[in-house]
């Protein structure tokens, strides 16, 4: 009997040593504690599934008076598949922690959490939403950049001066969910294919039906639905940590 049990323990040990366990790096020790955590920048970005968000996510730890706290430990978390680089860190002299985020492999909305401990070691957290674009939405985004954005995006960049302010009737930015969510896919298809007058809207929106294919227009609508804020009706689940 003894021999069997020795063999059994031996095998157990062998099995244990063969399995690779991932040890996570030890967390740095906080030197201070805040009272609140807020998002500084990097929320509501879009990136392709699995790809890095174009800008890092920055959160700030504040004390009860609202001034920045340095040396507080912030931990980031998200749905499985979301990665943070770094996944935790101490806030710098301006109270901020910066992390590079890549979203999971499924297209949709992701909720990230940044958490810190307050003086009584209670968790305080802030939720940050990001959007992962699938293949069709990426295609739509490409079409948006080429054809739509110069009028529909009021923001200018160095490379692309916005035409928004030049238009007598203002176009709807595609993130404007309050308006665009009220329009059905059929409405959007009609207005893109036949121009504004198809729905009694401004003729400044030209007809694109002879320039864009049906699948192009579908891709554009999927992009518009994906970036809509508040989210569209069929936006699907929000991926958050379990």
């Amino acid at each position: 009997m003894k021999r069997y049990s020795a063999l059994f323990i031996g095998m157990l040990l062998l099995a244990n040593s063969c399995s690779r366990t991932q040890e996570s790096a030890p967390l740095p020790k906080p030197t201070a504690f805040g009272a609140a955590i807020v998002e500084s920048s990097g929320g509501k970005q879009f990136a392709q599934t699995g790809a890095l968000l174009p800008q890092p996510v920055v959160v700030q730890v504040n004390d009860a008076q609202g001034s920045a706290v340095a040396g507080a430990l912030v931990e980031f978390a998200g749905a499985p598949g979301v990665t943070f680089d770094p996944a935790s860190g101490l806030s710098d002299s301006s109270g901020q922690v910066t992390t590079n985020v890549s979203l999971g492999g499924t297209a949709g909305r992701y909720q990230l959490t940044a958490a810190t401990l307050d003086k009584s070691h209670k968790r305080v957290e802030v939720k940050i939403e990001e959007i992962a674009l699938g293949y069709q939405e990426t295609l739509g985004r490409h079409l948006n950049d080429q054809y739509c954005e110069r009028c529909h995006n009021p923001e200018s960049t160095v490379e692309r001066v916005s035409n928004y302010d030049n238009l007598e009737v203002k176009p709807h930015p595609f993130t404007e969910g309050d308006t665009l969510n009220k329009m059905s896919d059929a409405d959007l298809t009609a207005i893109i294919s036949h121009g504004g007058p198809a729905l009694n809207k401004s003729a400044l929106m030209p007809a694109w039906g002879n320039t864009l294919s049906k699948s192009d227009i579908q891709a554009l609508i999927s992009y518009i639905r994906a970036v809509s804020d508040p989210p569209s009706r069929n936006a699907g689940p929000v991926y958050a940590k379990n």
Partner: protein, 681 residues
């Protein structure tokens, strides 16, 4: 113990009947193992889970009708695909399940391909024939390729599609970087179509480097290229100061003077201190060159090198010769020959020489080199493969300097040496190697690049696409890239166009860059008088553009040569320039055109016709369009802009002939008002 065992034996096998009974029972039980294994299999568990997931949904009946139990399989002999993934991923085609968050029940996102045609593993990798979660997704002893991480999924598009696709920005970037960042100078990449990937960058020749810069600058540059220019593509070879001393000594000693590449103009620079900056701006140097401003932002293009600290680098006499005519030093340069006069050369070189960084060279003190140092420098230059990228007199370009990267996407994991703590997968290996090559062994020659995380992901994506499947694809599935044509204009005008580097910005007959309009059919499009005036003094057509046509100091003969060539050769067969008149349209038709312009087609959203009321920024300004474009071109453009210029963003309105004619009449009547008339007289 022994007694017990004996009595048990007696009970079970004491006589033949007992033995028969027991053996039969054991036999029956072992027969039941297979069905039991099947009954408790993972896929059956997931199929049960699916049925209970859909039970309470409103469309449950439809979903149940689509559902097929049992192991599902997609078999594609041509591609070597046996994929049973759909046994567990049952809801792949059910768009209505978009709100379901749990795998394996989510529907597949919309893609242009059908699973029946391509299966799953062609894109996702993993073991298709497996029926357990572990075996299908992970690397096992019998199957090396695990599921491809989502961030590299575009690499699978690249197995068949060798050209750039609008839906795969990461793959496109990766291909671009592989060709542009110097990788293929050292690594051979044979593409699946048999061709070899060509580098798109053009590292400068070092044969005459001593004319251009100093040994001290070469030292500082090699020590840390990004310290001189943060946008530099030159990687860091992490050389010791002694090696830097010897390499810089060799390069300077090896350099031979080139006739005409140094010059001291006698003309004085303009006395106005802002004249240099104005000339830099007017010449649109920033279309190609970037300068870091006080706020730390890069302003300008990335076609030519960054100029933030150029004064610390180049010798003034070299810069003056270069500005006078860059083709003397580098006949292949993308920089146009601006035809600056001596005063302009002096002004501009003074402006650029003032862009210095005194810290860069302050710690570099080099003594005259010994012959041994120069010889050692030469050996280092050969050892590090400098001549793979740069032309260096006396040193041959090495063949196959670095390992070939064709089929790197199928490299067996057993042939790789991983770093401690690294995941043992091919994508992690490739990404790690690009990120920090010398971490794998300090003796490696591969230098340190300064890629961003997104660039490393993109490069890894492209390298993963160079796998066995892409090279053994059935020819019917391969989608070839459109190759850049090698079109060259002929004759005297052709020489002039090369001298002016027109193709650095414009595209003609499939050759050239896309910074400026495609000129393939320019001769059908514009009027001769306008083109002459434009070449002499390019005006602004598109108010929102920051990159514009620079002004060259042409002689009249040069302008005529160019204009004649463009007007005769760059003709579209679809546009007969002389088929429609430029004048004499009835007033009624012009008026109808105006109404269509401002009403039905609302062109003012994008174009400016009346500078007082219109503000559109997207298309060209149309105030002078009647003296710029031909009527036949305008008419055909109204009918179908993409037929004349594929990819143009002006929408095709599918106008009736009457509307197109009226708009043409209206547009042709816009000659630009009195100013233009008096200028002509």
């Amino acid at each position: 113990m022994k007694e017990k065992f004996r009595s048990l034996w007696q009970k079970l096998f004491g006589d033949s009947v007992r033995a028969f009974g027991v053996v039969s029972l054991v036999f029956l039980a072992s027969m039941a193992i297979a069905p039991a294994k099947n009954f408790f299999s993972e896929w059956r568990h997931y199929q049960h889970g699916y049925l209970s997931t859909i039970r309470n949904r409103s469309e449950a009946n439809t979903l149940r009708r689509h559902f097929e139990g049992g192991i599902q399989q997609i078999w594609l002999p041509d591609l070597g695909v046996v994929d049973r993934c759909t046994s567990c991923h049952v809801g792949l085609k059910e768009a209505s399940l978009a709100d379901v968050a749990t795998q394996p029940y989510r529907p597949h996102p919309v893609i242009p391909h059908k699973t029946e045609q391509f299966g799953c593993t062609v894109c996702h990798r993993g073991q298709g024939a497996a029926t357990t979660v572990e075996e299908a997704h992970n690397s096992t002893l019998a199957w090396e390729q695990p599921i491809l991480p989502a961030k590299y999924i575009e690499s699978s598009c690249g197995e068949c599609h060798r050209g750039s696709l609008p839906g795969t920005p990461q793959l496109n970037l990766g291909r671009n970087l592989l060709a542009r960042e110097g990788c293929v100078h050292c690594h051979t990449v044979k593409l699946p179509d048999g061709s070899q990937m060509k580098a798109t960058d053009d590292p400068p020749s070092l044969s005459h480097i001593a004319d251009k810069t100093t040994r001290e600058w070469i030292f500082a540059w090699l020590k840390d290229p990004q310290a001189y220019a943060s946008t530099a593509t030159m990687p860091n070879f992490k050389l010791s100061d002694d090696d830097l001393r010897d390499i810089s000594a060799f390069l300077v000693a090896n350099s031979t003077p080139l006739a005409g590449d140094t010059l001291t103009v006698s003309a004085k620079a303009a006395s106005d201190p802002s004249a240099g900056g104005s000339l830099y701006g007017e010449s649109f140097c920033a279309s190609c060159h970037a300068v870091q401003n006080a706020a730390g932002n890069m302003v300008g293009g990335d076609v030519g090198p960054e100029l933030t600290k150029v004064g610390t680098k180049v010798r003034p006499e070299w810069l003056q010769a270069w500005l006078r005519n860059p083709r003397v030093y580098d006949p292949e340069t993308a920089m146009p020959h601006y035809r600056f006069n001596d005063a302009q050369v002096a002004t501009l070189s003074g402006f650029l020489e003032a862009k210095t960084d005194s810290d860069l060279l302050s710690n570099v003190h080099l003594e005259a080199p010994t012959p041994e140092q120069i010889a050692h420098g030469k050996r280092l230059v050969s050892d590090y493969g400098c001549a793979s990228c740069h032309e260096i007199a006396g040193i041959k370009k090495p063949e196959n300097f670095a390992p070939e990267l064709s089929r790197i996407g199928s490299k067996p994991i057993t042939q790789l040496i991983f770093l401690p703590g690294m995941q043992h997968t091919l994508p992690d290996y490739i990404a790690g190697k690009i990120k920090q090559p010398r971490a794998f062994s300090p003796g490696l020659k591969m230098p340190q690049y300064t890629f961003t995380a997104a660039q490393i992901d993109a490069l890894t994506t492209e390298l993963l696409s160079l796998n066995d499947r892409s090279y053994t694809l059935p020819p019917s599935l391969a989608v070839a890239a459109t190759h850049e044509s090698d079109y060259q204009p002929a004759g005297k005008a052709g020489k002039l166009m090369t001298d002016l580097a027109c193709f650095s910005c414009h595209r003609i007959n499939g050759h050239g860059a896309d910074m400026a309009p495609d000129l393939t059919w320019e001769g059908s499009s514009v009027q001769r008088d306008w083109l002459v005036q434009f070449l002499k003094n390019p005006g602004t057509l598109r108010p929102a553009l920051i990159r514009r046509m620079p002004r060259f100091n042409f002689t009249d003969a040069e302008v005529n040569e160019l204009t004649d060539y463009i007007m005769t050769v760059y003709q579209s067969p679809a546009v007969d320039r002389d088929s429609m008149p430029l004048n004499g349209y009835p007033q009624g038709q012009i008026e109808l055109g105006r109404q269509l312009y401002y009403g039905k087609y609302s062109c003012q959203g994008c174009h400016i016709m009346d500078t007082k009321t219109d503000k559109g920024y997207i298309g060209p300004t149309l105030t002078h369009v009647g003296s710029r474009l031909t009527a036949a071109w305008i008419y055909q453009w109204m009918k179908n802009p993409q037929a004349l210029r594929p990819g143009t963003i002006e929408p095709n309105r599918s106008m009736s002939d009457e509307d197109a004619q009226a708009l043409t009449a209206f547009l042709v009547s816009q000659k630009g008002g009195g100013k233009q008339e008096t200028a002509k007289k």
